[in-house]
Symmetry: C2
Subunit: 117 residues, 2 copies
Amino acid sequence: MARTRHASLDCSPGCAVEATLALIDGKWKGVILHHLGEGTMRFNEIRRRLPSVTQRMLTNQLRELEADGLITRRVYAEVPPRVEYSLSERGRSLAPVIRALKEWGDEHVMAALQKAA
Amino acid sequence: MARTRHASLDCSPGCAVEATLALIDGKWKGVILHHLGEGTMRFNEIRRRLPSVTQRMLTNQLRELEADGLITRRVYAEVPPRVEYSLSERGRSLAPVIRALKEWGDEHVMAALQKAA
DNA sequence: GCCCATAGTGTCGAAAAGGATACCGTGATG
DNA sequence: CATCACGGTATCCTTTTCGACACTATGGGC
């Protein structure tokens, strides 16, 4: 499922830009990475922070992030089940990018929304 | 067309991250902004840099970027027609974000592709 | 007279994304 | 005995995305 996007990265100089975007687009991945930046969390903990994401979507996005090596998934053989998610080394290296996105958004989007209200 | 994405920005702290992503996702916008960072360009000039984008898609993405206030479109009443695109003030302010995306991609994605080849 | 380039637009249809809902096993709790 | 919480799956269906292709107007060159 998914991961078809940009199978061929055929652009020359801007390629890297799209390659990075391909990893963090997908409607929820950006926020998930942002939240996981605060530390390890379990499934429903993340879910509570994203009020409007469905279980199916959250599973999906987490699986893709894992497949891309950005997060780590640790399952504990317990009942009730416990699954913890955390940023991988690679995921942590994305921090500056996430921060840049957040800062720009705070300054140029959120501010505009304030005014509109 | 489009622009439905994230009509309701209901997340709390990561909201700004998604808000920014909503502006630059869309398969080609990232690269377009990257290229326009080099200066004003006309339609077919951009198109030549993006070998695999269709005319329809390019028009579409440019219109969305314009609607979001990131680029400026100047039409000259000439024949054959001439239309020039350039970054707006707001678009230029995105430069650090684009740069962050590109740098991460160069380091963490392109490098991996080199090895694979 | 015909074709070229420019900067598009319109329509079609396939594929992907994503939402709703129901279901799973287990152990604790009421 | 029934119910809840956990971390998911499975299935269905609607919406969105996006590529292919055809079409437009105009003026210049051959």
